[in-house]
Symmetry: C2
Subunit: 431 residues, 2 copies
């Protein structure tokens, strides 16, 4: 089927899905969970095909590991769906209610965005998480996964559509795209697709952002910082910085640059070097850092680099203001942490650092939808509008204004025969 | 000054403004109101220069009227600022608070977006409204007004910056752009500007949307509909449709297409024709409309046209479903109203019509920031993300996640020596 026809169908179904109640959506989710369990042998067989083919094509071992989708993975995604059923429906919430005048009532009510296009990496669990988040929030979805996992993606999509349809959800609410050219076609569908969430490499995300009129949410870079203040507890700082850098290096919320107050540097730098040396982290530093510990020099480029590896850049700063300036200049607005015992400095850091996640005395690795308690996430946004940080269900809804009147016309207010009351109602929307 | 330096300065100041408290921002607003009153003769003199020059340049009378900024206009904008002072600060509100684990607390707190670029028409009151909305919400702003009002814009901007600076707000939080080439430069400043709100013609707004990586909020078209159902009170329907079409034709929330249920058409169409004839509205209609009243034929193009004039297209439909389909196909997602006595049909219309404002038994002209009780508005958005409908203070904020810990690291949760609690706190952010 041609992409525009596919997108049109998903859009049409999304209008009906948007009006589906919580009970119906939860029933569909329960059906999906049940069906994934019932058909796990088919899933595992399809995944084995993907694994065999990818092995032949010499896919690197870490990627093969991410591609693997076995009985345990299925149990995990089924658990995830059960948690999702228990989360509050993000759609249909009344955010504001005002009596504009007698009989003229305004409500701001959350609703799904419409159709979401999601491009994700070769992890089959991502397909299940993303599509079920879209279903729970009432959105249609176009899914484009990695080609390595194509057989697994096909069977999973079939199961999800089939099981949700049996619960009464229109079958075309979700569709799977398979080729790279599908992605380029998708970027042109601004008549049908309301939001694109790309997950992948920096270059890929930037390409998407530059080549579509459709709004894009996500992040290109994750250049996260830890700032160790002169009022920091240094033992705690060593623990936090080590965790932020090394707990999992290949992810966007791993720390890439360490900023250290010049008064803390002589005591702290030798300690953090000891800790990071034990994890084989390569260190580069500014001249002041080099005067205190033996590291290679950091270049201007280092402050702008997301290593995603066992490597850390270090800069000694004159204090909080320079740290904030450095972060706002070189950071990517993702996640930054201050380590200090001074509450006032923590407050200033959290006010002035222009990032989606600002942390005090804890690891940058915490900024994540699961850890934040949102269930899964569709992505992490470094945008300044709509949704910031880990995007869970709340990031997948918008609102509409619903105004009910009783023959009200504007002319009567314009000629001053009537005036507005604008009285808060604090009432849920009902007709 | 070069645009990138100007934008950089506004960005820098916006970081400080973002941390300003409600009291300081309200003091600055009060200073601005006072200063506008004190310096009204300077303003009126500058405005007279604009009027004189524009008259010589043969600016059409309606535009001259909009350009005029006299003692009464100043009193109006000063009243507007007083109301704005009384509105709740949209920044610094805690939207969510969760205890992730003992001593590890997550808060989602609203904050300004950053720097807003606003391009607006030649109405000097718009400059005051927009800049004070930005100040109250804590955003820096780059203002580009029409060249006809350049002297008025200059003195107003000078007064606003001067008065806010005296209250302690950094002086570079606002800046005025004056030339068309400034607009093109502005579109490239994605490192400094976080959101662009263009107000103006369809073509202009589309141009902006297609030529910047910066997110754009606003609306290109306002193709609004009234649907008169077979269960409508026809007298009320005549009043509502007449108001929706004629109360002010040159605005985006005026109705452009009337949809009528085929059962209501024979009784309703002659009545609405009588009412609209008396206001000199030109009517075009589908063949079924033409069979009932004498109107010219409507073409496919008519359903896609925002007349902004005394002209209305009319289509007879088989019922609610066709009306909804027509609106979702040809509408612009702005404002659509159903006239019916049937609550169930009203609910379906409001669920299925994919527009920012869905109305029942009232005029489309109500969808407006002032009428909705938001004070003024920076624009009306037909976007599907971030903000929909009239954008007031709430549309100018986003949020950041603030996480406070006590030495917490992720490794302990990964190796299962600790587990997350995810307990709702229902508490305002505090350190």
């Amino acid at each position: 089927m041609k992409m525009d026809e596919l997108a049109r169908q998903v859009k049409e179904s999304s209008i009906k899905l948007a009006a589906a109640g919580t009970e119906l959506k939860n029933k569909a989710l329960a059906n999906i969970a049940e069906s994934l369990n019932e058909r796990k042998e088919e899933i595992i067989k399809a995944n084995q095909e993907d694994l065999d083919r990818s092995e032949k094509e010499n896919l690197p071992a870490p990627l093969l590991k991410r591609l693997k989708f076995d009985e345990e993975s299925i149990a995990d995604v089924v658990d995830g769906i059960q948690s999702l059923i228990n989360l509050e429906d993000p759609a249909g919430k009344t955010l504001l209610s005002t009596e504009l005048d007698e009989g003229l009532e305004l409500y701001r009510v959350t609703c799904p965005i419409g159709v979401i296009g999601i491009i994700f990496e070769s992890r089959p669990d991502a397909l299940v998480q993303i599509s079920t988040l879209c279903l729970k929030s009432g959105n249609g979805v176009l899914l484009k996964g990695g080609s390595e996992s194509r057989e697994t993606n096909r069977i999973l999509t079939e199961i999800i559509i089939d099981a949700s349809q049996k619960a009464g959800i229109p079958s075309n609410w979700a569709a799977l795209l398979e080729t790279r050219s599908d992605v380029n076609d998708m970027l042109k569908m601004d008549g049908y697709i309301d939001l694109i969430i790309p997950r992948g490499s920096n270059d890929f995300v930037r390409y998407i952002m530059d080549n579509s009129r459709i709004p894009v949410m996500g992040h290109a870079d994750g250049i996260c910082h830890c700032y160790v203040d002169d009022d920091a507890d240094l033992d705690s700082a060593v623990k936090i910085v080590t965790d932020s850098k090394t707990q999992y290096v290949a992810v966007c919320n791993a720390t890439e640059t360490l900023l250290v107050h010049e008064k803390a540097a002589p005591g702290f730098l030798p300690e953090i070097k000891k800790s990071l040396d034990s994890k084989n982290v390569e260190l580069v530093g500014c001249p002041k850092t080099q005067a205190l510990i033996s590291v290679k020099p950091a270049s201007e480029e280092d402050w702008q680099t997301e290593y995603l590896d066992y490597k850390l850049s270090i800069k000694v700063v004159s204090g909080l203001d320079e740290a904030v300036d450095h972060i706002n200049t070189y950071g990517s607005g993702h996640t930054d942490s201050i380590i200090t015992r001074d509450t006032g400095k923590a407050a200033r850091f959290m006010d002035y650092v222009d990032s989606g996640n600002v942390l005090w005395n804890c690891s940058t690795r915490f900024s994540d939808g699961f850890r934040y308690g949102f269930g899964a996430e569709v992505g992490i946004s470094t945008s300044k509008i709509h949704s910031r940080g880990p995007m869970g269900l709340d990031g997948l809804v918008i609102y509409k204004y619903k105004l009910k009147g009783n023959g009200h016309i504007v002319e009567e207010y314009s000629n001053r025969s009537r005036t507005f009351k604008h009285r808060k109602l604090d009432r849920d929307f009902t007709l």
